[in-house]
């Protein structure tokens, strides 16, 4: 009877692994396809039947992408994402720090948190038209500022909620000790609280960066050339250069590299980030 039970258990374990393996292959295949297509030589990327393993690996597509004016758009993407991440994280962390203080009246905190949550809920398209009109009237169309303002606005609620959780996790006594030592609030924030929540701050910044780096809707509405970012460039590939899958895949692969590096670094707090701080994985 025990051997029978063990055999049964072994079979179900094997089955479990097989199922997981199949699911993972289905999920991973498109990613493999993107990267392998980017490494195929010449026109191999649009042959039929498709070649599942590139006949040889070449970096021609990457060279072609980096030789053109795309470098400028890559730079745009980096500037906008880094600047908005920086601003969002600083402003959001300060606000979250204030909100983590229990001696602010409860209803004020609650109302602010709810309001901030609501700003995260509405679909971006619903403010797209006023943004378009306002940015145009301010003369900011096609500038970095237009995109940075937008991304800070969309990133702030997220940063505030996430950082609030990290601040609340800090033992209150640490700060009390600093108060007794006569540290001002700003000193405590800079020299005690921020260093202790540095991992949380880094993870929050990573999420803010990924959002700005991937954003397409506002980038396509608010920029036309000078401040154009990579997602907009990739979207225009479809209509203009329908058959240049190779270069498109190279660009797409380049876009996921930084994001993946950051995401892997933030893995530990991934669930927390994904759930807006509601589930602390």
């Amino acid at each position: 009877m025990t051997t029978n039970y063990r055999l049964q258990k072994q079979i179900s374990t094997v089955l479990l692994y097989v199922v997981i393996f199949i699911v993972l292959v289905i999920i991973a295949f498109p990613v493999y396809w993107l990267i392998s297509t980017s490494l195929k030589p010449g026109l191999e990327s649009s042959t039929y039947p498709p070649t599942y393993i590139p006949s040889r690996l070449v970096f021609d597509n990457y060279v072609a992408v980096l030789k053109s004016e795309n470098v400028k758009f890559l730079k745009n993407s980096l500037i906008v994402a880094v600047a908005s991440t920086f601003l969002t994280t600083i402003m959001g962390a300060m606000a979250a720090y204030a909100l983590s203080k229990t001696y602010i009246a409860f209803w004020i905190r609650r109302a602010l948190m709810l309001w901030i949550l609501v700003t995260r809920i509405f679909p971006p398209i619903t403010t797209a038209i006023p943004y378009y009109v306002i940015i145009k009237n301010l003369g900011l169309a096609d500038t970095y500022a237009a995109l940075i303002i937008t991304y800070v606005s969309y990133g702030l609620p997220f940063v505030i909620w996430l950082m609030l959780g990290f601040f609340q996790d800090l033992p209150a006594d640490i700060e009390k000790a600093a108060i007794v030592d006569g540290c001002s609030m700003w000193q405590r924030f800079r020299q005690v609280v921020l260093p202790l929540t540095l991992p949380g701050l880094a993870v929050t910044a990573i999420f803010a960066f990924i959002f700005a780096w991937n954003e397409f809707l506002y980038a396509s509405i608010l920029t036309s050339f000078t401040a154009k970012t990579l997602p907009v460039v990739i979207s225009t590939f479809i209509s203009d250069q329908y058959l240049r899958w190779g270069e498109m895949s190279a660009m797409g692969s380049m876009m996921i590299i930084p994001v993946m590096i950051f995401a892997l670094a933030a893995q530990k707090y991934l669930v927390r980030g994904l759930t807006f701080g509601a589930v602390k994985g």
């Binding site: 649009s46 720090y97 409860f106 619903t126 397409f216 669930v271």
Partner: protein, 310 residues
Amino acid sequence: MQPPEAITPRTPARVPVLKQSYRRERGVLALFLAPSVIFLLLTSVYPLLNALRLSFYSWNMMIPFSKPTWYGVGNYTRLLNDPEFWNAVKVTLIFVVAAVTIELLLGMVLALLATSGVHAMGPIRTILLFPLMMTPVVAGVLWRNLYHSQYGVINHLLSLVGIPPQTWLGNPNQALPAVIMVEIWQQLPVAAFVLAAGLASLPVDMYKAAAVDGASRWQTFRMITLPLLKPVILVVLLLRIMDAFKVFDIVFMLTYGGPGQRTQVLSLLIYKTGLKFLQVGQASAMSWLFLGFIFIMSFFFIRELQRGES
């Protein structure tokens, strides 16, 4: 893991000695809050109110130097009689319900598998991260390639088992499921990750007790796992429903709403009306109907979450 905190901040006991210092610092706290609050007022509240105002005006920006003219509730009544609008509502609802349901079910299966003693969590996590972190625009282009009717990989794989080539994104009946498939592929990891974290934090002794009582696997899942996991499931549902309603990028890239209007979600219709045809009033009215719906729905969700807490 702790239960979802939703809206209620924690309230630790106050220390009387420090009260004086706290009172002094309220002003400083206001300064800490001010940048974010002012920024959000200007960049999210003001545009929303601006859109609300515009929704009562008729304004065709196509005409140079045109000004908004008062139109009352005209935009709203026109929308309610507009089949294109109702089609977009229908497509959006199908998209959200189908995508989120399948994600939740598959995510639950994956999470259960992953927490049932598999020793490869690291690689599994990494693989799931790729679709999740991929720029939606890139995912759109990539799947356009996979779905391609002439040299797409999907048709090639199907031909190996004798199924004739399909047109997928060009086919009125296949386009919406094909788009939903891409959304599921990208967002399934959210449900899987969060549910797995929830499962990992459930108390072990309950399961031991159930095993002693001779409960079957299904009984254990129904009577113990599901009720304990309810708050986490609600969080996943709330997040995924809210985000699925926002869908724009992948539809824009895959089909641009076609064929016909078969995949025209609300976001895309608002985009076309307001930013391509520049019917600003009409698009703003649509935005506000959309917003109203989202707010009411999230209100009920958040209330449910808070109830679970207390």
